[in-house]
Amino acid sequence: MTYIIMTLLLILAATFQTLSPAYGILGQVKIPILLAFVVYYSLNRNTATMLIAAFMAGILQDALSLSPLGYSSSIFLFIGWLMSRYRGLVMADSFITPVIFGAGTGIVATLMHALLLVHNNLINFNPFWILLRMLGSGFLCALITPVVFMLTKTLDRSVGNLETKENPCEFC
């Protein structure tokens, strides 16, 4: 059940992400809904589920853009692993946690993606544009992550994937 829900949510997230407008003022960045899901699974579910979610979200993101397959998966897996290491130190149920983690992961993921693309000569190197995109991605991810947390937690609890107020480390 967990994986069916996760797959459906990720496909829907990818659809909304591709349909979301690319904000010029934020460096043409899209609303990073898939990344917000990676943050959610990193802070709320066990490591195996998080890794699978990160891998699938990465494949979807790369497949629906011109990016070579595997770039986003590597980045999301790294970010998921990093967050899951420190999730014991934060309160996943707090409102401020997804905001901070969302902003941080938005910036880091964009920087890592930019470095990979520039290194492989797939985009033109423009430091101003990349910086704008990092800030834009951080801002949008900080906005969308709490929404994703709220909706996904409600759904997960309603289908019994997540019990109320449980410690996420219990799954580890």
Binding site: I11, L19, G24, K30, F55, I59, Q61, S65, G70, S73
Partner: protein, 298 residues
Amino acid sequence: MSNNRIAVVILLLAVVILLNLPLPASMRIKAGAHNTVAPFQNTMSAVTHTVGKVFSSIRNPNRNLNDKKDMLTEIAELKLKLKENKLFEDENIALRKLINFKNRQKVALVLCEVISRHGANGWWRTITVNRGSDDGITKGAAVITTDGLIGRIYAVSKNTSTITLITDYSCNISCVITRTKAFGIVQGKGIAISDNVPLDMLCPINPLGMDYISKNDSIKHNDLVITSGLGEIFPAGLIVGHVIKAELDRSGLYQRATIMPAANLSELRYIFVIKNKKEETKTALPKLPSLPTMEGLF
């Protein structure tokens, strides 16, 4: 070994395999993902468009009526032009027959609807449309609107196609300035054109640049730029845009111009893909007198 460790090892292996996948396999996976998401995109795109139309009609109730009147006038004008053009076409065919020329190009258009823009991450200037290989669209085909060229097909799946816009850095087009017949290469500058994005304050909007124009040609503001047909990617004669400004390159060897695209790339909804680019490639040229051979010279 715990379940988590097994998952880590398997996924790391999967990432390594993904990163080293050959291009055809990678494109197949991408096409599969596009086909999976396409129905959702189509539905969402239709819903957002309908909602937008409803709000637009509430804000401006007479707009639809005015639009209809404008369209009827335009249809009448176009019908007249079509009749005129038919006469020219007949005359052209007759003249071509006289000098034994065949039609070089037969163009068929596929009408497509835009279902998403700039992919999933916005690094590239692309659009996705709701027609694919099932409708006869092939990779590399030119994409136009009624105003001019907008890009080319980058990838095709069964039901969708991804188009690289001419404003993308990866798009290079061999073009010619109609007034002077000066050739050059038009390249995208990667910045989207939009009326409602105040990017001018942050960085200048130079949507297209045309390089390698001969420095002896005089380029003027508003000169029309069309595709030259060289390189055989884009058919000749497609309108690309107009010159905004031209200057000598820093090397002093050639001129470079800034071009504004003819098509409004920020408001793309319906576009046309040029299908069957070349049906009859054999052109019966008039017979030329035979040139002297090397043997004859010595």
